[in-house]
Amino acid sequence: MTPARVDFRIIGDWIRPGSRVLDLGCGDGSLLAYLAHSKGASGYGLEIDDAHVGECIKRGVNVIQTDLDAGLSEFDERSFDYVVLSLTLQAVRYPDRLLREMLRVGTEGIVTFPNFGHWRTRWQLGVLGRMPVSAALPHEWYNTPNIHLCTLRDFARLCERERIEVLESQVVDHAHRQRLALRLLPNLLGEIALYRFRRARLP
């Protein structure tokens, strides 16, 4: 099974085979279906959208219809090896609380988000003076679900403040490709950022 997107492949490369995975905002379930097939992973997707829930069930992906803003209190501590939040961090009400919750119910967290520090968004805001619209951020300011956008640097600072240890990170462009230039100037050229992290050990 070829992954539909390169970010899926990267996540697939990061997780250990046979892992228990909780996918927050799992959409149509394609990531979980890919991880189940390629890594023997199992677990659940959480999703609020009616149509997506139906797509998950059609695919045979375990899905629980719920609102992420209501938290993960129904899940016990350390229930999962990985808690994944793919392109959803920017749309939740309290991203910092959700990160904490991810590391309560999971051993490791994996987050992907659109990088607001990409040169094109900087250009649109800084030079054209308009809210950025791009392939990764297709909405207009008035109808966007993305209420907490951040840059790679912002995310790294939040991790530091929350005592979260970043284990791995990657950036890809809007076509989910990896290129050498992205590795050199990730916060300028990366459109989608991927992070794997865990709770930092006390020194």
Binding site: V53, G54, C56, I57, K58, T66, E74, D76
Partner: protein, 381 residues
């Protein structure tokens, strides 16, 4: 009457099986000999792997789909969901619907003749629990040659039976579909049931449950119980939508006759229930609901009670259901995922209240059908 629609199972005939082997009940009581009435739709495949059990709710029966007679005004109670091309597709599945013990629709119940006395059981009919029903259904499955259900499905009290099946017979249930149910009743739920029971028990025509011998029945009590029940099956929103403060007549009549549409509706529901439903059965069914609490038997709560479950499960709840609210279904979902079991949960937006599980709501149909398609695709071939 109108011709029977092509997506109906059509004309159906109930079947009846006698069980001479005593059934020991949770109460300690024993049914030495009993009969179960059931209907089946579709064809059991060669491996007997495509059988689906539909469990009924408080006032339901084995008549789930189709018509008994061409003159029937109404089909079975789940006609929306059972038939060719429907969620429980009778071209794919062999659907079995069993009338529960204690019912008044054919299986042995309080109105049946007690062989020990030669007169109706009445109050001598032992109390039955959800677990007792499941045990009796398992015997029916044995007789039908069904070792393992492809799915056990039910709404409300029927959903509780599906859950109990998954607990009591983990190797005999591949999938459970639990709709608009709860892992146990709340104090408020029990309170409503108690008011309904008191209405029946204090009716002078109840005669301590021996009303058959008096050629009467506690009509007043049963009517009030049914009216109360109907209020809890509907939501405030749907009552507003259906009736509002609409009047039956032109103006207020300043007496105790029907003034508002909602009064007329409740009286009609009550009238059509009396003569069709047995007061002793109503008492038994509400007690089975009150007593249902699989977690109560297990030290460590619901997750511990479900530790033996192997079935994959679909749980569905309806947003406006306040009798068994979505939060109650989520308790079942949590206990299942705490055991690392395959479970999916869909919360269906519906204004109909608890009764939504009986309705044809497009998203409900879509989710139910998609899940049953997966069940069918996974059948051992």
């Amino acid at each position: 009457m109108k011709p029977i629609p092509p997506d109906s199972v059509g004309l159906v005939t109930p079947a009846r099986l006698r069980f001479a082997k005593p059934l020991v009940l949770a109460s300690g009581g024993v049914l030495a000999d009993y009969e179960l009435v059931y209907e089946t739709y579709g064809t059991l495949n060669a491996k007997a792997s495509n059988a689906v059990l539909v469990c009924h709710a408080l006032s339901g029966s084995h008549h789930v789909a189709g018509y008994h007679d061409e003159s029937d005004k109404r089909p079975g109670w789940w006609e929306h969901h059972v038939g060719p091309g429907k969620s429980l597709d009778t071209r794919k599945f062999f659907v079995v619907a069993c009338n529960n013990l204690g019912s008044c629709f054919g299986s042995t119940g309080p109105a049946s003749i007690n062989p020990a006395s030669g007169r109706p059981y009445g109050p001598e009919f032992p109390m039955v629990t959800v677990g007792d029903w499941v045990a009796s259904q398992a015997r029916l499955a044995d007789e039908l040659g069904i070792g393992k259900w492809a799915a056990v499905v039910g709404g409300s009290l029927g959903g509780m039976q599906a859950l109990q099946w998954a607990i009591d017979y983990p190797d005999r249930v591949a999938h459970a579909v639990i709709i608009a149910a709860a892992p146990k009743l709340t104090a408020q739920n029990i309170a409503f049931n108690e008011v309904a029971r008191q209405a029946i028990l204090t009716d002078p025509d109840f005669h301590e449950g021996r009303f058959y011998d008096h050629g009467t029945e506690p009509r007043r009590g049963l009517r009030i119980a049914r009216m109360l029940g109907h209020i809890t099956y509907l939501s405030d929103d749907i009552m507003h939508e259906k009736f509002g403060r609409g009047l039956r007549g032109e103006k207020l009549n300043f007496d105790y006759q029907v003034a508002f549409e909602v009064e007329s509706y409740l009286r009609h529901q009550a009238d059509s229930f009396v003569g069709r439903f047995d007061a002793n059965t109503y008492l038994l069914m509400t007690k089975a609901l009150d007593y249902f609490d699989p977690a109560g038997a297990a030290d460590g709560g619901l997750a511990a009670a479900l530790a033996a479950v192997k079935a994959d499960t679909l749980v569905m709840a309806f947003t406006s259901d306040w009798r068994f609210a979505p939060a109650r279904s989520r308790e079942i979902v949590k206990a299942l995922h705490d055991n690392d079991l395959n479970v999916s949960y869909a919360e269906i937006k519906a204004s109909h209240g608890h009764d939504a599980f009986l309705m044809r709501i497009p998203r409900y149909v879509d989710i139910f059908t998609a899940y049953m398609d997966r069940v069918f695709a996974g059948l051992p071939s």
